[in-house]
Amino acid sequence: MTLFNLVTRNMKRNAKNYLLYFISLIFCIAIYYTFVSLQYNSQVLKQSQLSGSMSYAFSFSSWLIILFVAVFAVYSNSFFTRKRKQEVGLYSLLGVRRKQIGMMLFFENMFLSLGALLIGIAGGTLFSKLALTYLAYLMNLTITVSFEVPLQAVINTVLIFICLSLFTSVQSYLLIYRFKLIDLFKADQAGEKAPKGSLIMALISVILIGSAYYLSVNFMKFPDPIIALYIIGATVLGTYIFFHFFMVNYLKRARNNKKSIYKGLNMITKGQLLYRIKGHATSLATIAVLCTLTLCAIGTMATIYYNVGIKTKEMNPYSFSYEKKSDEFAGKVEQIFEKHSDEHKIVESNELPFLSVAGRFDLPEEHYLQFNGKDGYKLLSESKYNSNREKQGLQPIELNSDEMHMIFPYANESQWGSIKNQSILLTKGTKEAPVTKLRLVGIASERMSNLFFPILVVDDNVFEESKKIGTPYTIENVTINNQDNSLALSNEMKELTELENVAMNDYYSSYQLLKESSGLMIFIGGFIGLVFILATGSILYFKQLTEAHHDKKLYAIISKIGTTKRERKSAISKQVLFIFALPLGVGIIHSLFALNTMSMLFDMSITIPVLVTIVIFILIYTGYYFLTVRFYTKIVNEKQ
């Protein structure tokens, strides 16, 4: 039999073991290829406002994927080689030269990797069009995506993965040299000691995690980067200690509870878990931390993406706000709206009659209020403001003739303290003597238009009198339907207002910019997250299957003693559930606290996007769980 025959026969026989690794590898390659091809793809780049940062983002994230895939491939490969220790030993005993065995393992792995590479690129090519369409959708771009195979992307992917395959193949080749013949034959030795749990360490882990949770909930009270660092550090450290000590303590306690132990196969489940926990603790903790990281990252991106509309709407309550400079200008605007009336009907429009008046605050020159009034402060009459409030169902405000109320989009409570009761002197022209002095008595951050100047609400009489020293400044607010897709209309308005040198802010431009950046983010984050989930899921799967091979004897014993297949499967399900659910559960709880803090910091609603993220996460893990239970059961039920 030639070496080649041996290699192909081995691969056929081990196909079942290889399958998941093979599929995961194909998937990773396909995603990597997709990213690289997007980096070189001309179509989206041309359309987007952020083409430069986009190609950078794709190249950065493809490196991140490579890093992760490398760790995953090396880990899985060492799993396979370890599993075949005895087979390798047998060849060695039969007198096959070490070099030949090494070559056999080398070629097996090489064929496997090259196969995955070929299928991965083919799949990635087909998939990248779909991905591109999806990206365009996420970024709110209207383009028809055509099929494209960037040669650079293919070359890049092939080169990177051939390097990776060479590395793992050499790793396989070296297996035979790393073990002595006697080691290869010795099955993994039984008789690990049950670990000692330490109550103090268990308590420390609870205190670390608990304090991190407490601080994250109350983060707004002391928003300090050091506190944030502590939260992260304590959570990570606490998680590792938790898995090493708290878990052992818990399982020991559970084992001493005879009532639950002496029930069916519970004894086996808990016994095996405790027996293996030492080897598991570190990897379970790592997976929990990785889960937290992935959930936080994807959760944040999903939250930002989900909140784009809401945030833009907050900042830009109208589709357009512009200064109505003259009747002639208003006519031109009307023409533009008329032209697009098929796609966008005007739903509502209102006019805000401001007075632009010069003046200065009793504040240092560099204060933002001084700066914002350079082109004149915009005065609004109390009655106009109150009628606006009435529409929103708010209580009217009342002002004396020497008082004013300020409306400023970025105003908040903490600023209010420093400018309360400040006075403004209104003047005719910048250097004239003061005419009116007004004291600031209230502040609000509501939006009366899309424009960002501070508005001073004054008593109606003061407003009338100020007409003598100021000039009228009228803002028109227009709301149209289908404003998320008003690219053409928005462009024409921008052109006109720039030409006429008129202040204008539209909803669409802000919306589109945010949508593009957050869409890109969620796209990249989603795929990287997927790679993370697949890799961690596969690692858990491989770990459990390694155990299944060790547990064959155990299950043979309890089968002889008299247990039904159902009972054995239920014991396996419980044991595997513990391994899968624990890191995921810990990761979910960690990330919920982190995301909650994030939502408080940025004032965004997280419920729906985070829920969707977590549900997807749980679904994928559940898939891995059932797959693992199935193969575990199959392995232990095989005849020895």
């Binding site: 039984a190 002496y262 004894m267 086996i268 004897k553 309890i558 008299g562 247990t563 009972e567």
Partner: protein, 255 residues
């Protein structure tokens, strides 16, 4: 006398058509309640096949097996599993203890599978451990105790459910002579005091001498039956040895 086990014309063939090998050929015998029966024979005679079939782990090609009057051949796999754990007890050559459980838990396992109450389990385990002299090591793990202690633990696990029939598959095979003696005396004690029915497969004359009756099989058939009667163990062992010698001669004659 009441039959606990009735083996009725059991045959076992291996391989497919044209290349068949008969491991057992129409073997019939019966074991009565309270008997201590040994099955002996040269290696390859079909001892292990017979034990596997009687203990419901393997299926015969033809024939029937009745345990406590029930035909186990007609049972489905799950029924068999439940049957095994309530009616049968096993002692294996390589102990087959579970490494991750303490000796106490190993013994308690069959009872907890049968959903016996916690207090009752503890009581049973303590009783049996005392009888077999392993009370001190109950909280230890299998890798912390000696081979003899392991096998007594396995024996405890086999009898803890008060099974109708206890099977021993070369239980002394991996033990030194002192531990062997200790185990066999324990089994004999169980047989005489508790009237436990024991079926022992062995090729060890010393172990065989503890039995009341020995079935000798060669080439898949029962060759001869030896009965101890009122003789001493030494005399019985002598007869077994003679028989073993004769079986060897027969084979030599054939050549």
């Amino acid at each position: 006398m009441q039959a606990v086990l009735k083996v009725d014309q059991v045959s076992k063939l291996y391989g497919n058509k044209g290349n068949q090998f008969t491991a057992l050929e129409e073997v019939s015998f019966q074991v009565n309640r309270g008997e201590f029966v040994g099955i002996m024979g040269p290696s390859g005679a079909g001892k292990s096949t017979l034990l596997n079939i009687i203990s419901t782990i393997d299926m015969p090609t033809s024939g029937n097996i009745f345990i406590d009057g029930t035909n186990v051949i007609a049972m489905k796999e799950d029924q068999l599993a439940l049957f095994r754990r309530s009616k049968l007890g096993f002692i294996f050559q390589d102990y087959n203890l579970i490494d991750s459980l303490t000796i106490r838990e190993n013994i308690a396992l069959p009872l907890s599978l049968n959903r016996v109450k916690t207090k009752e389990i503890d009581k049973r385990v303590e009783e049996i451990a005392k009888r077999l002299g392993i009370t001190e090591i109950l909280e230890k793990y299998p890798h912390q105790v000696s081979g003899g202690q392991k096998q007594r633990c396995a024996a405890s696990r086999a009898i803890v459910t008060n099974p109708s029939l206890i099977f021993g598959d070369e239980p002394t095979g991996a033990l030194d002579s002192k531990s062997s003696q200790h185990l066999l005396e324990s089994l004999q004690d169980l047989n005489q005091q508790e009237h436990a029915t024991i079926l022992l497969v062995t090729h060890d004359v010393f172990a065989g001498s503890y039995c009341d009756r020995i079935l000798f099989i060669t080439d898949g058939m029962i060759y001869k039956e030896l009965i101890k009667g009122n003789r001493s163990r030494k005399e019985f062992a002598q007869e077994i040895l003679e028989l073993l010698g004769r079986v060897g001669d027969d084979i030599n004659d054939a050549i």
